[in-house]
Homo-oligomer: 247 residues x 2
């Protein structure tokens, strides 16, 4: 299944503006102005100027929640997005309720206190982002993420992503029952996405995000096996053509 571009110029547009360049421009812009986001519940709020706002939209980070009259735009980041901008791209600082910038360890603890499985979800998120995939919530399809090869205005998402992990050898969560697997594959087929399962290996509940480097991602694509599509074609096979000669 190839990419499904939206409109005939979409592919050319995407090609002309690779995502790596857009994210780099965003990173530079945020870094230069020493940006800070502030924690609010399970989200991080950020006030962007017009240039930053345009770059955030193009790189698909956060959601605008308010645009005020003096050209400032309020964005809401998910915990993954905020931590990626802060810890991976190092272009956003995050402050707590006390207005003080949180050090990485402190922030790591905070994230895990909000989402127990933050380490594995973040690892998977960062894995895709670092390969220049855009990542959004997949909840409407019953998966963890959907991944786009470029901006959602130009292309439909290619992958429905499930993040699975094992702790002490016991796999958690989804796809443990055949019926769940069948349903998930059927749903993905129905919305023309490929099911991508990211197994996060080596999870340890460390006190620091440095442990992320020890995690490994094992990606697997799961799809229906259609025997007619995969078996050797009779016309291509020597044995069959020989058999034909003898009949």
């Amino acid at each position: 299944m190839g990419p499904r571009w939206k409109g005939k110029d979409a592919e050319a547009k995407a090609f002309a503006e690779p995502m790596s360049g857009i994210v780099y421009a965003l990173q530079s812009s945020l870094h230069t102005s020493e940006c800070k986001g502030s924690i609010s519940g399970c989200r991080v709020l950020f006030e962007a100027n017009t240039e930053q706002s345009e770059l955030l939209d193009r790189a698909c980070f956060g959601q605008v929640i308010m645009t005020s009259q003096n050209d400032t735009h309020w964005y809401e980041f998910t915990l993954q997005e905020a931590f990626y901008l802060c810890y991976t791209l190092k272009c956003l600082k995050i402050v707590g309720g006390d207005g003080v910038v949180k050090p990485y360890e402190n922030l790591w603890h905070f994230m895990i206190s909000k989402v127990e499985k933050f380490p594995e979800y973040f690892k998977a998120y960062a894995h895709l982002r670092m390969k220049n995939w855009l990542v959004r919530s997949g909840s409407q399809y019953g998966v963890d993420y959907v991944a786009y090869r470029h901006h959602p205005a130009l292309v439909h998402s290619d992958y429905a992503v499930l993040v699975l992990s094992e702790i002490n050898g016991i796999s958690s969560g989804r796809l443990k029952l055949w019926s769940d697997l069948y349903g998930t594959i059927r749903l993905c087929g129905g919305v023309a996405k490929t099911l991508l399962v990211l197994h996060v290996l080596g999870i340890s509940k460390d006190n620091s995000p440095v442990c992320l480097e020890n995690y490994e991602i094992e990606p697997r694509i799961i799809s229906r096996w259609i025997p007619e599509k995969t078996r050797e074609k009779k016309t291509d096979s020597k044995i069959c053509s020989e058999a034909k000669t003898h009949t």
Copy 2:
């Protein structure tokens, strides 16, 4: 969501021939000729004459696997279908590899040896069948069954059915994670079926199928909540119309 009939005469046809009558005719026909099915792996094989074959097709029991020259038709029943015909409708005897008719207790043990959760799956199957729903495998939709209000040639299935049970207070299987629930509901919506969850309560691992009478079924329909569709309409509300008068 109402029934989706196939073609304009389908509803009238179904109304003219209620399923209860068809199943009763099948039951009588099989009972009169003292029919026997024989176990083969996880299926029960049955040789039907032309009249029985027609009734089996109309009542949607089993699948034809072979029609021989002398007008006999070989059917394959699932374990649930065979046990329903045998134990509930009392119109089919089932013989083992030794050619001897298996008594109910013996058969019950055999079914559980093949499918550990046979008791709850059978209870759910029988519950729907006794209410004259036709029940088929739901594996292509990632559920346990699909239920039809009449023959699949006349109408699409209304329900995608998941069978859940609790043993010692621990619920088994599906829908324990939000993402699974979201995905299942989305899939059901996509194929225009309603998700019906049958909770089977009071499961005990008894030595006899008599325990089925102590099981209870708690049916639940699960669907997306769309606030716009369910909230009080402004025009219907006295308070709102009064409020209008005062503004």
